[in-house]
């Protein structure tokens, strides 16, 4: 007992180091930025300053603009990514399970993967009109690819011994899917969903640049058009916070979905 106490004493500050150094770095950057803006070292028109950004965030919250925009963007993300999750997992399972489906669908997946989907926005605007439906379509197309690729990989990686055992015990295709393939591929599928939601966020923000009529991305583009650097940076800050929160949430869900798994001796 006494031996474990002394290393722990030293370990506590060591554990705090990432927070102290990492957080300190961000605070330092903010302070230097503020000082540079006050001292007139940088052009505040181009770089704004943390105090101005905080003020602008306060204004946007007060006027309800921030909440409204967040609502619009979140709805687009939920619908677009939700559809991508359903379609992506279904297509990925089929591709992973049946070789011929894989061969037939493969070229289109790679096409979508390497083509700049945002460039298709005029086409999508033509189909869905300017506004949320087009942004949802871009979000869907952006986020469906990693979900498909990962789900297919997850199914392919299922231990063939498990499948052979289940089949020899008389499992049909449905039971096989529900009891063996799906549970065994959960980690890879979840990783795909996490990657997909990240790309979905890109889709929402960039989609709103070009085809939106509201939302955070639209605000960024709109304020930039009116040379409002401070408002742009405030919105970018919101996007960064949203991205970090989404990623943290996705990782939590990922470990939660995997927590039932027990290591067999």
């Amino acid at each position: 007992m006494t031996t474990t106490v002394s290393p722990r004493k030293r370990r506590v500050p060591e554990k705090a180091m990432p927070i102290v150094l990492g957080g300190g770095f961000l605070v330092l950057v903010a302070i230097l930025w503020q000082i540079a803006a006050w001292a007139g070292l940088v052009n505040p028109f181009l770089t704004s300053s943390p105090v101005l950004i905080a003020g602008s965030l306060g204004d946007q919250i007060g006027s309800g603009l921030l909440l409204r925009s967040l609502g619009t963007s979140a709805l687009e993300l939920v619908i677009g990514f939700g559809m991508a999750a359903i379609v992506g997992v279904a297509v990925g399972l089929l591709m992973g399970r049946y070789r011929y489906v894989d061969y037939v669908v493969e070229p289109y997946v790679w096409l979508l993967y390497s083509a700049p989907i945002v460039a298709l926005f005029p086409l999508l605007v033509l189909m869905f009109g300017l506004g949320s439906p087009t942004v949802v379509a871009i979000t869907f197309l952006m986020s469906v690819i990693p979900v498909i690729v990962n789900s297919a990989q997850g199914v392919r990686n299922v231990d063939p011994k498990l499948i052979r055992t289940a089949v020899s015990f008389g499992a049909g295709e449905t039971a096989l899917l529900r009891k063996v393939i799906l549970p065994a591929s959960v980690p890879t599928v979840m990783a795909g969903l996490r990657l997909g939601v990240g790309r979905g966020l890109v889709g929402v923000v960039v989609g709103e640049f070009f085809a939106g009529d509201g939302g955070i991305g639209y605000n960024i583009s709109f304020f930039a058009g009116h040379l409002g650097t401070t408002e742009v940076l405030a919105s970018v800050f919101v996007v960064i916070v949203a991205g970090v929160l989404l990623n943290v949430g996705a990782r939590k869900l990922e470990s939660l979905a995997d927590s039932w798994r027990t290591e067999l001796p």
């Binding site: 493969e106 390497s114 460039a119 926005f121 640049f209 996007v239």
Partner: protein, 275 residues
């Protein structure tokens, strides 16, 4: 088809290929046949639906029209002229990202305190869409080439740095301990242990960074610019001229694929000592 396959084995048996090789020999053609067949069927159906009026040609164009539009773009020199600008922007931004991202990432992987200081900021940027910075970059650098280069740089450098950091950190600690036990200097440790072991991950980072960079340069040109492939796409898009739009999107997709494939070959060559 199956008959042809069944009659095949007897002859090569004399050459005594292992049974695995027989499977491998005819497996790729099956795959290629299905991929090609799927492409042909979809293109033919697309063309057919458009010509009998099942789908609106204004929305979807047709494969023939896309090929024609591609021919026009190529023969008029319009594509090559704009592609030159885009290529210069992409490679300038990507080269800058490699020059900055690899050393910074490796330093972060190597030195604990540097990593602890920079990691939260880097990861925050890694998980957020840095394309959100695009209007800001345009505001600061104008709609010329500088803002595109900056966007490619930002998109690529974060991915490259994160992977370089991961590569160094994944080095087998036993190797590091052994080198330390033999009193390796800092330089030797880095040049002989850390860098070679991180190289595959660094190359993977370059590949991902290049893919993101291609998207970034096109999106930046779409957003505003005077020339470049993205600007060309934007012009045709504003006229709702779908055939050249789809052709150009395809060209960009193929370019991204080729760059990624080239980097993959380069990475395999650079790490060939591993096997």
């Amino acid at each position: 088809m199956t008959q042809g396959l069944r009659t095949r084995p007897p002859r090569p048996v004399a050459a005594a290929p292992p049974s695995r090789a027989v499977g491998l020999r005819w497996l790729p053609p099956v795959r290629a046949r299905f991929v090609l067949g799927s492409l042909v069927v979809v293109l033919a159906l697309w063309q057919l639906c458009a010509s009998i009026g099942l789908v609106d040609v204004q929305f979807t164009s047709t494969p023939v029209a896309i090929v024609q539009a591609g021919g026009d773009l190529l023969s008029s020199g319009e594509l090559w002229e704009n592609a030159q600008t885009t290529l210069v922007e992409f490679f300038a931004g990507f080269a800058l990202a490699v020059v900055v991202g690899v050393p910074v990432g490796m330093l972060m992987g190597w030195k604990l305190r540097i990593r602890q200081t920079l990691e939260p900021a880097l990861i925050a940027l890694y998980v957020t869409p840095s394309l959100a910075l695009l209007p800001l970059v345009v505001l600061a650098l104008g709609i010329g080439e500088a803002s595109k280069i900056a966007m490619v740089f930002i998109e690529a450098v974060i991915t490259i740095a994160v992977n370089a950091m991961a590569g160094i950190r994944e080095t087998d600690p036993k190797l590091v301990q052994a080198a330390r036990a033999f009193c390796a200097s800092g330089g030797a440790m880095f040049g002989k242990i850390l860098f070679p072991s991180a190289l595959p991950t660094i190359m993977a980072g370059l590949r991902l960074g290049a893919g993101r960079g291609v998207i970034a340069v096109i999106v930046a040109e779409l957003y505003g610019g005077t020339d470049g492939v993205g600007q060309l796409i934007s012009t045709y898009g504003q006229n709702f001229d779908v055939a050249p739009l789809l052709f150009l999107t395809l060209v960009v997709g193929i370019f991204g694929y080729v760059v990624t494939a080239l980097l993959r070959v380069l990475g395999t060559a650079a790490t060939s000592w591993e096997r």
